[in-house]
C-alpha cells in the first residue's frame, strides 16, 4: 500500500490511452474479422470470469450471496435496468441475512 498514487496514475494512463488512441488516430474502420470478433467477445468473457465464482464470496454468508446471484440472473434475463438488477440483488441478500441470523 506504499505506492497507491503510482498505481492510480498508471491505471489512469493505460485506460486513457486505450480510449484516446482510436479516437485520435484510427480514422478507418477495423477490417480484420478476427480482431473485431475478439473485441466483441472480450467484455462478456471478462465480466463473466470476474463475476463467477467471486460473487459467491461477495457477502458475509454464502446463502445471501447465492440469493443475490439468483435474483440478479432472473432480473437481468428479463432485461431490467442496471440499477434495478444491482439494487434488488443487494436487497435479496440483505433479506436472507436478516433471516438466517
Amino acid at each position: 500500500m506504499n505506492n497507491v498514487y503510482a498505481y492510480i496514475l498508471l491505471m489512469a494512463v493505460v485506460t486513457y490511452a486505450i480510449r484516446a488512441l482510436p479516437l485520435t488516430l484510427i480514422r478507418k474502420e477495423i477490417k480484420s474479422t478476427f480482431i473485431r470478433s475478439f473485441l466483441y467477445y472480450v467484455p462478456y468473457a471478462t465480466l463473466a470470469a470476474m463475476t463467477f465464482p467471486a460473487i459467491l464470496s461477495a457477502t458475509d454468508s454464502r446463502f445471501s450471496a447465492i440469493a443475490g446471484f439468483a435474483v440478479a440472473l432472473i432480473l437481468a434475463f428479463y432485461k431490467k435496468s442496471l440499477l434495478t438488477v444491482a439494487g434488488c440483488a443487494c436487497a435479496a441478500a440483505f433479506l436472507v441475512e436478516l433471516f438466517i441470523r
Partner: protein, 238 residues
C-alpha cells in the same frame, strides 16, 4: 467545424440523468471496497475521477491491496478496458472528420459502456458539446458515489456493507446476461468463462495464479476461441 451549442451541452446533461443515478449506486460500492483495503477518501475519489471504469477499478483494488506488480496492473487494465478501443473506434466514425485533436481527446475521457451507449445512439451528428454534457453529470455521479461510499462505508452497519458488495456483480450480470438470450455464442462465452474461472479458482496449482492474471488468461483464451469458432459478421454485431 461545428462543436455544438450550449443547448447541446444541456441536452447531454439531461440524457445523463439515468447514468448519474446508476453510477452513484455502483461507485458507492467501489467507495466501500476501496476504504476496506485502506485507501483514503481522496485516493478513492482520485481513482474514480481519473479512470471512470467500473470493472477496471474494482479489479485494480486487489492488486493495490496485495502490492502487486505494475506490469500486472497495466496488463489487467489493458485487457479489461480493451473494449473501449472498439467503442472509441466506433465513436470516431460518428464525429465530424474535421474535428480537432483537442476535442477528440476530451471525448475520449468519457468512453464508458453507458456513455458510449447513449452517444452512439444519438440522432444526427455527435457534437463535442453534447458529449461534454453527458460526461459531466455522469462523472460527477461516479465521483460523488465513490466519496459517499468511502465515507459511509466506515459508519454503515456490517450487514448492509456485506450486501452492497453484490452491487458491482449485479451490474456485471445486468450487462452480460441480456445478450445471452438472443446470441448463443455470447451465451457460450459467458458459461465457458465462468466454468474456467471456477476451475482456476479451486484446482490445485491453477489456484496459485493471482486473480488478475486469471481474468486476463481466461478472457484472452475464451474471446480468441470464440472469435475463431464464431466470427462476428457485421450485421450480427449490433
Amino acid at each position: 467545424m461545428n462543436i455544438g451549442k450550449f443547448s447541446d451541452f444541456k441536452e447531454g446533461v439531461r440524457d445523463a440523468v439515468p447514468i448519474f443515478l446508476g453510477y452513484i449506486a455502483v461507485s458507492f460500492a467501489f467507495g466501500i471496497e476501496s476504504s476496506k483495503i485502506g485507501m483514503t477518501v481522496v485516493q478513492s475519489a482520485m481513482t474514480s475521477l481519473l479512470n471512470v471504469t467500473s470493472a477496471g477499478q474494482f479489479s485494480a483494488l486487489k492488486i493495490i491491496h496485495e502490492n502487486g506488480s505494475f506490469i500486472e496492473l497495466a496488463v489487467l487494465q489493458f485487457i479489461i478496458n480493451l473494449r473501449y478501443m472498439l467503442m472509441s473506434a466506433a465513436l470516431s466514425q460518428r464525429l465530424d472528420p474535421r474535428l480537432g485533436t483537442l476535442h477528440r481527446l476530451g471525448i475520449s475521457y468519457g468512453v464508458t459502456d453507458e456513455i458510449f451507449g447513449v452517444s452512439v445512439l444519438k440522432k444526427g451528428g455527435l457534437y463535442p458539446m453534447y458529449s461534454y454534457g453527458l460526461i459531466s453529470l455522469s462523472v460527477f455521479g461516479w465521483v460523488l458515489g465513490t466519496v459517499l461510499g468511502a465515507i459511509a462505508g466506515q459508519i454503515m452497519p456490517q450487514r448492509l456493507i456485506s450486501c452492497l458488495g453484490l452491487a458491482i456483480y449485479g451490474m456485471f450480470i445486468a450487462i452480460i446476461i441480456p445478450d445471452t438470450r438472443e446470441n448463443k455464442n455470447v451465451r457460450a462465452v459467458v458459461v465457458i468463462a465462468m466454468v474456467l474461472s471456477t476451475i482456476f479458482a479451486f484446482a490445485p496449482f491453477l489456484n496459485c495464479i493471482s486473480s488478475g492474471f486469471r481474468i486476463i488468461i481466461i478472457t484472452v483464451l475464451v474471446a480468441a476461441g470464440a472469435a475463431k469458432v464464431a466470427p462476428v459478421r457485421e450485421e450480427e454485431n449490433e
